[in-house]
Amino acid sequence: MSMAQQAEPAVTTPPASGPGKETDGRTAERPLALRLLARPEVGVFLGAVAVYVFFLISAPPVRDGSSMANILYQSSTIGIVTIPVALLMIGGEFDLSSGVAVISSALTASMLSYQLTLNVWAGVIVALLVSLAVGFFNGWMVVKTGLPSFLVTLGTFLILQGANLAVTRLVTGDVATDNISDMDGFDQAKSIFASSFEVGGVNVKITIVYWLVFAAIATWVLLRTKYGNWIFAVGGNKDSARAVGVPVNFTKISLFMLVGFGAWFLGMHQLFSFNTVQSGEGVGSELIYISAAVIGGCLLTGGAGSAIGPVFGAFMFGMVQQGIVYAGWNADWFRAFLGVMLLGAVLINLWVSRTATRR
């Protein structure tokens, strides 16, 4: 029974609580600049500034106030969907159907109102329900089957892409929907989704406001609420999160539905600013949203990221997209730029996650 005696001291001396505030003393505080640089949002912010300065020098028209409003507008149309896409990515999943879902939503609203001669708001509401349902379907399939979201949403992407074209052809006999600008409620809906206002003589689109407000709400939710905590947890380690009582399925499904909401919002904006929808559009946008989220410091594998980073990510894309035009270059260069920025951001992300988990 020699072991029993060995066990005694362990039992009789419960861990002592140290008097006062002692510290471990083995971790040295790193300089503020280094700590800031390690934050992905700061990295992408510096990247956005660099791109801005680059075009400020190489494309003189960019210095104009109205060009800036234009660049921000372009960024906001990317950014509004990028924010929920980023939250979903932090939650460990991604959604390839987000690009065509925007068009599906706009088509639904447009065709439903026009064909049934309803108030456009009926179409808007139904489109919202359809978008949320698509999001729910994606999320439900992912959590129930355990399949990678890449596969599930690739399926939804193809379904929606095909349905967009086929249903539009079937209903209107054309590739675009009819103009709905003279229908009941159009002006009201346009004032909400696609209006603009003057700031110091510059015409500013309202989507810029929505973009920044959504980003602010998303940041608050992510960092200051239970739900935000759950998003990080289900993306960081789904099984651990489930084991400590986080509702993993609810969190994931609701994130997919949030992407549906974002797609609906942008879809409504496009519908009410152009009055008609081209059924073949939207393909490829999903990759831009995902890239903007990744550039914004969201880990593709989930568990890390922010809502502010993707704002700068979307700004970088909007800046490049418009900047190339203002600089008078061929617009085809946009995708090449996008690729270079994406690779750079991924390398930085990789380094950050390695530093953070190094033991």
Binding site: P14, T225, K226, D239, A243, S353
Partner: protein, 306 residues
């Protein structure tokens, strides 16, 4: 545990139920689990009392994991009975087990490596303040509480904002145990807490197991190290090929017997015989079958042999 108010339901459950001191907190009667046509666990009896460390030992594939998955609510038993405070239960989620005061510290520790220590500490049971539309995390209170609780367990960290992935294995284990204790666990299940640790860190973890017992918890300590088990255990159950091979209290079993059971007594003798056929293995020094099985052949009271 009065400080748990506002953090979740487990604290409340603790307060309105004062179970009989001598009644088992958790009891398995003839319990078993089949996955399709595989019988992973059968005819298992286990009682967990407050202020006792019940060690479950077993080799790989003996059914240890299945056993804890049933108790922690990840899986459901398919045979026999599972009782908590004498009531038959069937948990469908870990949340239900948690609400009954059964907390599990898993081998992978159920932590999210990239999240800060304090967020991990409160994950799934976050403290909030404010009315619904603006209900938000009470970050100050959570950080303060996490720091206090960790200090109470003797863990001192410089920065609770550091990702938990940067802590050492022993530190993370201790954070996980401190978390379970804080959230009003009455039964603490530890799944091989010392498996990946060095000698010194194992010692630290064993100390917390003893500390948890002193706080009145029933501890289920899963391990395949009989030495660690014997340091803190009050009751020992050895699982073998899905069923209970030994079920004995500390007074009825010696460390040698326990080690023998773990090593698989008779199987070792058979292995020795096989090794004898292979040139170059000196079997003279290895114990005979009689030596290996001798202590077990005379079972004393309270010991059930299958």
């Amino acid at each position: 545990m009065t400080s748990t108010n506002g953090t979740g339901t487990h604290g409340a459950v603790l307060m309105d139920k004062v179970p009989d001191k001598d009644a088992p907190l958790v009891e398995l009667r003839n319990a078993g689990k089949s996955y399709g046509n595989i019988r992973a666990l059968y005819e298992v009896d286990l009682k967990v009392f407050p202020r006792q460390v019940t060690c479950v030992l077993g080799d790989n594939g003996a059914g240890k994991s299945t056993l804890i998955k049933i108790i922690s609510g990840l899986h459901q038993h398919t045979e026999g009975e599972f009782l908590v405070d004498g009531e038959p239960v069937r948990f469908s989620t870990p949340r239900e087990a948690l609400d009954r005061g059964i907390a599990t510290v898993y081998q992978d520790l159920a932590v999210v490596p990239l999240m800060p220590v304090w967020r991990n500490f409160f994950l799934g049971s976050e403290m909030t303040k404010g009315p619904w539309p603006i209900r938000r995390l009470d970050i100050e209170r959570m950080k303060k509480t996490a720091d206090e609780e960790l200090r109470n367990m003797g863990i001192v960290l410089d920065d609770l904002e550091q990702p938990i992935g940067t802590l050492s294995g022993g530190q993370r284990q201790c954070v996980a145990i401190a978390r379970a204790v804080y959230f009003g666990a009455r039964v603490l299940i530890l799944d091989e807490p010392t498996a990946a640790l060095g000698v010194k860190q194992s010692g630290v973890v064993l100390k917390y197991i003893a500390a948890a017992r002193e706080r009145g918890l029933g501890v289920i300590f899963i391990t395949h190290n009989p030495h660690h088990a014997y340091m803190v255990g009050d009751h020992f159950s050895v699982l073998r090929l899905g069923t209970m091979e030994l079920n004995a209290s500390r007074d009825d079993v010696s460390l040698e017997e326990l080690t023998n059971h773990m090593a698989g007594g008779t199987e070792l003798a058979a292995l020795k015989h096989e090794l004898a056929q292979v040139r170059g293995v000196d079997v003279e020094e290895l114990p005979e079958e009689e030596d290996l099985t001798a202590p077990v052949a005379t079972p004393s009271e309270g010991k059930t042999l299958k």
